[in-house]
Symmetry: C2
Subunit: 310 residues, 2 copies
């Protein structure tokens, strides 16, 4: 298989597979489309948490313990902000802050989110293309028993405690596709579209809710492969299992596969799980604790895609 690959990803879990793909593919063969639904305006800054987690992970500067932010971070800005009575529920490290300040400055100067984000990633040494899903705002709103919450209020401030009833991707229906993301998905020789093991509701659906991206994925001749973020009834990290239960879904790989029904051509689940599905499945090691494991899963997914493409 020699064609290009597109991966759709959120942060943390998705970023692990994105890193595996980046380590086994020539840089010009890989485009990663980042979840825009977590993006928000905070302290007057445009913050793109999943894009940044992917960027920092691929640049080798991520705080892999926390799953967000930069390694060897300091927090003096935050302490000073607290002293001034500023909002401190969303933690911004001193180094990380430069990303948000510089992004916001360039957006205000008229550059597009795609342009700015690609250039920031390039400055950090990325050679794969990390594409914004849209240059327009797409914002995940969480419908909870207590009312609608912007994603970060739900996720960070409320620590995913409110019971979820559903999700709205504000702005998605009218959002133009990110030009780099769309171009990547339209490549005629595309070898695979990989849906990383991210939360389907919070990390993948905001991308799929952008009509032109969903159409491009559905139109592509390339096999679309999703990897289960649920292993042995648990999310490896994050609230996926809790949310699935609140939505009345069993936290199983099969429920994930059904969520993507009609869109995916193959499904990858952990070797300790089973699912009786009407599409091809691959059971393999999906935990990705080491770089080798990340690369091994990436190779397995691309091999599976090659077999599906026949």
């Amino acid at each position: 298989m020699t064609g290009p690959v597109v991966a759709l990803s959120g942060g943390i879990g998705g970023a692990k597979l994105a890193l595996g793909l980046a380590r086994i593919l020539e840089p010009d063969r890989l485009t990663i489309v980042a979840n825009p639904g977590d993006d928000f305006e905070h302290l007057g800054l445009t913050i793109c948490p999943d894009f940044d987690t992917l960027m920092y992970t691929l640049a080798g500067v991520a705080n892999t313990q926390a799953g967000w932010g930069l390694a060897e971070e300091t927090w003096h800005f935050m302490a000073a902000l607290e002293r001034l009575g500023g909002e401190t529920w969303f933690r911004l490290g001193d180094r990380d802050l430069a990303t948000h300040v510089e992004r916001t400055r360039r957006l205000r100067a008229g550059e597009s989110l795609t342009e700015v984000n690609i250039d920031l990633a390039r400055r950090l040494g990325l050679r794969v293309l990390l594409a914004s899903a849209s240059d327009d705002p797409v914002r995940t709103m969480v419908e909870t028993e207590g009312g609608r919450l912007p994603f970060q209020r739900y996720f960070v401030e409320r620590a995913c405690e409110p019971v979820v009833r559903g999700f709205v991707y504000e702005g998605a229906a009218g959002a133009r596709p990110g030009p780099a993301a769309l171009r990547a998905l339209r490549q005629p020789d595309l070898a695979a579209i990989v849906i990383c093991p991210s939360n389907p509701f919070l990390s993948i659906d905001p991308i799929l809710a952008i009509p032109a991206l969903r159409f491009a994925i559905a139109d592509s001749a390339a096999p679309v492969i999703a990897i289960s973020p649920i292993v042995a009834g648990q999310a490896v990290k994050g609230p996926t299992a809790k949310i699935m239960r609140e939505l009345g879904l069993a936290p199983t790989p099969a429920a994930i596969a059904r969520h993507y029904a009609g869109l995916i051509d193959g499904f990858v689940l952990d070797e300790r799980d089973a699912a009786d599905l009407d599409i091809p499945t691959l059971a393999t090691a999906t935990l990705m604790d080491t770089l080798e494991a990340k690369k091994a899963l990436a190779r397995a997914v691309l091999g599976f895609a090659a077999r599906l493409a026949g």
Copy 2:
């Protein structure tokens, strides 16, 4: 003398006397009006360098060695910004940055500069009133042999190297006076208006260029006292002497006094200097190396004002 006092001040030298005044007066008797001419927009943030130097000095958290910024500052934001290709000619420390981010956020949310700045100062523990000269932008532009430069480009980026021909205070003619500054200057029982030993062109004239403030100073029954920033032919710190020579002025206390002619009722110069002026003068120790020296000069200035009010 028991009436209230207003001081007009830039950073560094002016802030030393402001601190002396703050340490000898009951907090509700002192209002300090900060030079607005150094303010600028940078990285999308509203930065008020002289206000902040005064705020940090009066809060006891200033970097007194550098003359700007916070003590025990760190620079991780700046290093990360440099890696991202951002502008680094104006140095913003990690803790200092919180002031600019929070100020900018609150201004965008609709608060006035006066409101925001007074509250930031209060959060840092200030009990004297530190008043913005205007809620409208007043920006010092430096006319140099090579053309017009915004103040910070001249002062920081070019390190005061270009030869100065004159100054323009953009926005001043139409600027509304800061309400707290105007209210302070209009107090009927005002005991003194103190022009701190700041650069007259860069730190005091931007305040005086705001018509309502200049009128209020001229109208006040209180004695107006200026303190020379020039001692023994030198500026204690900063480019005052160099600028005076470039403008064809001798760098002497007398030239400073003449600059304020018609506005001031008394003039304070260092005991090692002399000036033959047609207004009352006081020669005393003006260097303010220690807190005691700052308080001593403050007492001397207020005593001089009391004698002039006689």
